[in-house]
């Protein structure tokens, strides 16, 4: 047996103090009674103010001494050697991702892992420290190098499981960061093994070995893996995918409903491992549609999915040009654009357009909104230097998402304004001589093209409409994207022009206010379900929706991983030592003390 708090032995001084108190006499007030012989012979000192009296045997004294001795024993925190093998610094990595909500172990994988970690905390020795990190996106350090059992238990008890994925790489990087040089550390990974693939480079190994503690036993699960609504000229339909990840055939009922009510109920039978695609009707008036299955399996997060059925609102785009069929056609490819074409002489400026494209024309005052200006005439504020011959073009950054699927290899430009001195923004497409296409984010997303598209074969290449599509989507993303997001995935929301307030109502009814003046990134998407974006402009409130669904094959697969590929531990100059944990028995001793105190109370009331 080990005592975790040997200094508490000093409390034993209370024992002689209790005895001394019994040796003191109390000063008793005199009370005259009519018949003393009727009163029982009962003397007990509860208060001392005279120095000495003859000691007497007292059951109360005995019980009080026993209770005090047991309390002192509990304060010493005696502990028995436990079976766990702990390092001086234990780094506990707890998977808090969606798959840990599976209930194949009672009450859930996450709670089972917490229970095991709680037992580990109890077994920490007086010199041991523990760091607790949750594996989620992003990972979080819950407690760092703490030896306080109570604080660790409290921190553990406050943890909640997320609906997102488990970023093990980031969690291991964090864990490596909290390890001190030369410290004897050991990591304990509590997970079902359903984590994102390791992406960080751990080639040099981690400064600690990792023990994988698998949580979970079963992969039986049927999940709804995707739901999209497609609109054609004739009708709208939803496409739903149901997948049985388990080893047994399952029969279940699919409930298909819109925000207006139930649409259909279908009975489904799925063989082990079978996936089934369904096409489901979507009523014209539906804003959202929801599919739900009564799978009665171990995992509920993928049993209900929601999609937005309402078509996005169109943007008004103005093309100011003396004539440019290439640009006009490229802009009209976007179905949610309503393109108006205006001659430069007719342009008077308007705030009614979400985006304006100026072709070889520059207005006296540029609009405070997204715009594209192509080959600005000399003398205008954005005009470059004199024309230079170009030839081949290239991307400034081949990995720039604005150039996704855009091929520039066979593009030639005859001439362009010299934009070398332009401070408009960063170059997107450039040449040896000068930057050709520049983009900037502030104050609005805007594009400057230094050459007339007619002086290039670019409009004849497939890359041109794709570039226009990419740039227009970047400049005018849908105000609220209508597709489904994964949990914790950020959502870009573009406030409507003139919007005075933008509020996101989460599935649980909580509201988040967003800034109105700029494009906002909304990241509180941890809950599954439909999010409503309310934008108020001119006294009217416009509502749009986006949905968050699990849609994760990895999480729905659910079967815990037997062997998890983990980074190796570094070679240590000295061997890593571990010791047995401690099994604290002080709570039981404290309970005994409580029993003794109750016995003392009973003895007092029975006049012992």
């Amino acid at each position: 047996m080990t005592f975790l708090a040997p200094a508490a032995a000093a409390l034993a001084v209370t024992l002689p103090v209790i005895v001394a108190l019994y040796f003191l006499r109390i000063r008793r007030p005199t009370r005259v009674v009519p018949a003393l012989h009727l009163w029982p012979d009962q003397i007990r000192d509860r208060q001392a103010n005279v120095p000495w009296q003859r000691p007497r045997f007292s059951w109360l004294l005995l019980l009080q001494l026993l209770a005090a001795a047991v309390l002192v024993a509990a304060a010493l925190q005696p502990a028995l050697p436990a079976t766990a093998s702990l390092a001086p610094h234990s780094i506990v990595l707890l998977d808090a991702s969606a798959s840990m909500q599976a209930k194949d172990v009672h009450p859930s994988r996450f709670d089972e892992a917490r229970r095991e970690i709680g037992a580990m905390i109890d077994e920490l020795g007086p010199q041991d420290r523990m760091t607790l990190i949750t594996i989620q996106t992003p990972p979080r350090i819950i407690a760092s190098g703490s030896g306080d059992h109570d604080a660790m238990h409290r921190a553990l008890g406050r943890l909640t499981v997320s609906n997102g994925s488990a970023d093990l790489s980031a969690a291991l990087t964090l864990a490596a960061g909290v390890t001190r040089a030369g410290e004897q550390s050991r990591a304990y990974l509590f997970t079902d093994g359903i984590v994102e693939p390791l992406h960080a480079s751990f080639a040099n190994g981690l400064p600690f070995p990792i023990e994988y503690r698998r949580v979970g036993v079963s992969g039986e699960n049927v999940g709804l893996m995707s739901l999209v609504v497609r609109t054609s000229a004739q009708s709208r339909a939803a496409y739903l995918r149901v997948h049985n990840f388990g080893q047994q055939a399952r029969s279940l009922t699919l409930e298909w409903r819109s925000d207006a009510g139930l649409i259909d109920l279908r009975a489904l039978s799925l063989q082990a491992g079978q996936a089934q695609d369904l096409v489901l009707p979507v009523p014209d008036a539906a804003a959202t549609v929801t599919a739900r299955i009564d799978a009665k399996d171990n995992f509920a997060l993928d049993d209900s999915v929601t999609a937005i059925a309402r078509t996005p609102r169109a943007f008004r785009v103005l093309l100011v040009t003396a004539g440019n069929r290439f640009l006009e056609q490229a802009l009209r490819l976007r179905t949610d654009f309503q393109v108006d074409v205006l001659a430069p002489t007719d342009y008077k400026g308007s705030t009614a357009y979400a985006m304006t494209v100026f072709d070889r024309f520059s207005p006296p005052a540029l609009p405070d909104s997204p715009f594209v200006i192509v080959d600005p005439p000399s003398g205008s504020p954005l005009a470059g230097g004199k024309a230079v011959g170009i030839g081949r073009v290239r991307a400034s950054d081949a990995g720039d998402p604005l150039l996704t699927n855009v091929t520039l290899q066979d593009v030639r430009v005859a001439r362009s304004q010299d934009m070398s001195a332009s401070r408009f923004g960063r170059a997107l497409i450039t040449s040896v001589q000068t930057p050709l296409v520049l983009v900037r984010d502030e104050p609005f997303r805007q594009v400057l093209v230094g050459f007339d598209v007619h002086d290039s074969d670019f409009p004849l290449r497939i890359g041109f409409p794709i570039l226009v599509q990419n740039l227009s989507e970047w400049m005018l993303p849908p105000s609220v994207p209508g597709h489904s997001f994964h949990p914790d995935e950020p959502v870009t929301i573009v406030p409507e022009s003139g919007a005075t307030s933008v509020t996101v109502v989460r599935p649980d009814g909580s509201r988040r206010q967003l800034a109105t003046g700029a494009i906002a990134t909304f990241a509180d998407t941890d809950l599954l379900g439909v999010y409503t974006v309310e934008q108020t402009a001119g006294g009217n409130t416009d509502r749009s929706w986006f949905s968050v669904n699990l849609f994760s094959d990895a999480a729905s697969q659910l079967a815990p991983v037997d062997r998890l590929a983990l980074p190796p531990a570094k070679a240590f100059p000295s061997p890593q030592t571990t010791h047995h944990g401690f099994l604290g028995i002080w709570p039981w001793i404290a309970l005994l003390a409580l029993v003794l105190v109750v016995a003392e109370w009973l003895a007092f009331h029975r006049g012992l």
Binding site: V32, V33, P34, A35, L36, L38, P40, R46, H605
Partner: protein
């Protein structure tokens, strides 16, 4: 001082009461009580044969005409009731709120007044360690104030010794004896009650307690001091000790009641917070001592 013992308004209401006895009594002087002796009164009692020496004025001549022999008409004699009051003024009575001894004096005064108003003879004795006579017997309503003054003059204190009441009780002429006491002395009350029986007394034991001794209103540590013997003892009051005390008190009062009832005495338990008028009008009428 007399006026303080019993208020005039109380006395006026006591005028309507009388001390009740279960059987006829024999007193020394005429009174309003039915006597065991035959005497002059309107109430016919019996006949008996004439013997020389009898008062010939009592011969029933109508009976002589019918029976041809002398018969005497006998009438119920009405005599006074000898009432003896024994009042406990020991140290244990010097206690309580209201004060037990003062309440006992008022109660004795009230019973005495009822008796005096009925032309009964009242003898007063107070006792503690021994009996102390209250003087010559009192008779007549006018003696009430004298009796009140006398009863007020007695000091309170000392131990209780019931056995020393045996002689004064035993020498009583048959009549009614009322013993007012708390019954809490260390010596047993049994000898005094037995003496009442042997003296052919119609008796009544009135046990008077204070509310604070029935339900003690204090707890904690104390040095207990006996009101009679001044003996002291250290003590810690707990719920358990209070319960033990109440059990002992109940046992003691039950002993007193059982002893009284076994010997055919009337018994009443009174508390000092009970108004004397209420004791007399209600409790003593219920037990048949007054009517």
């Amino acid at each position: 001082m007399d006026a303080r013992l019993l208020e005039p308004s109380v006395l006026r209401r006591l005028d309507a009461l009388a001390v009740l006895v279960r059987r006829a009594v024999k007193g020394q002087m005429g009174g309003e009580r039915r006597s065991v002796s035959r005497g002059r009164s309107p109430e016919f009692a019996d006949f008996r044969s004439y013997t020389p020496g009898d008062d010939y004025r009592l011969i029933d001549w109508n009976a002589y005409a019918r029976l041809d022999r002398f018969m005497l008409r006998l009438f119920v004699a009405e005599e006074e009731l000898p009432l003896s009051l024994f009042v406990d003024l020991s140290g244990s009575m010097d206690w309580g709120r209201p004060h037990k001894a003062q309440t006992a004096k008022r109660l004795a005064g009230a019973i005495a007044y009822v008796a005096l108003a009925s032309l009964d003879r009242v003898r007063l004795t107070v006792f503690a360690d021994g009996p102390t006579s209250g003087g010559a017997p009192y008779r007549g309503r006018r003696a009430a104030q004298e009796l009140f003054a006398r009863i007020q003059s007695f000091p309170v204190g000392g131990p209780t010794n019931y056995s020393r009441l045996v002689w004064p009780i035993a020498r009583q002429r048959p009549g009614l004896t009322v013993l007012i006491t708390d019954g809490l002395g260390e010596s047993p009350i049994e000898p005094a009650i037995t003496a009442l029986r042997l003296a052919r007394q119609e008796g009544a034991v009135l046990q008077l307690l204070a509310p604070q001794e029935i339900a003690p209103d204090w707890t904690g540590d104390a040095r207990l001091k006996d009101a009679e013997t001044a003996a002291e003892r250290e003590f810690t009051a707990t719920p358990a000790t209070q319960a033990a005390y109440r059990t002992a008190l109940a046992g003691r009062t039950q002993e007193v009641e059982d002893a009284a009832r076994r010997r055919g005495l009337r018994f009443a338990r009174l508390t000092s917070d009970q108004p004397v008028e209420d004791m007399v009008q209600r409790t003593l009428r219920q037990v048949g001592l007054l009517g």
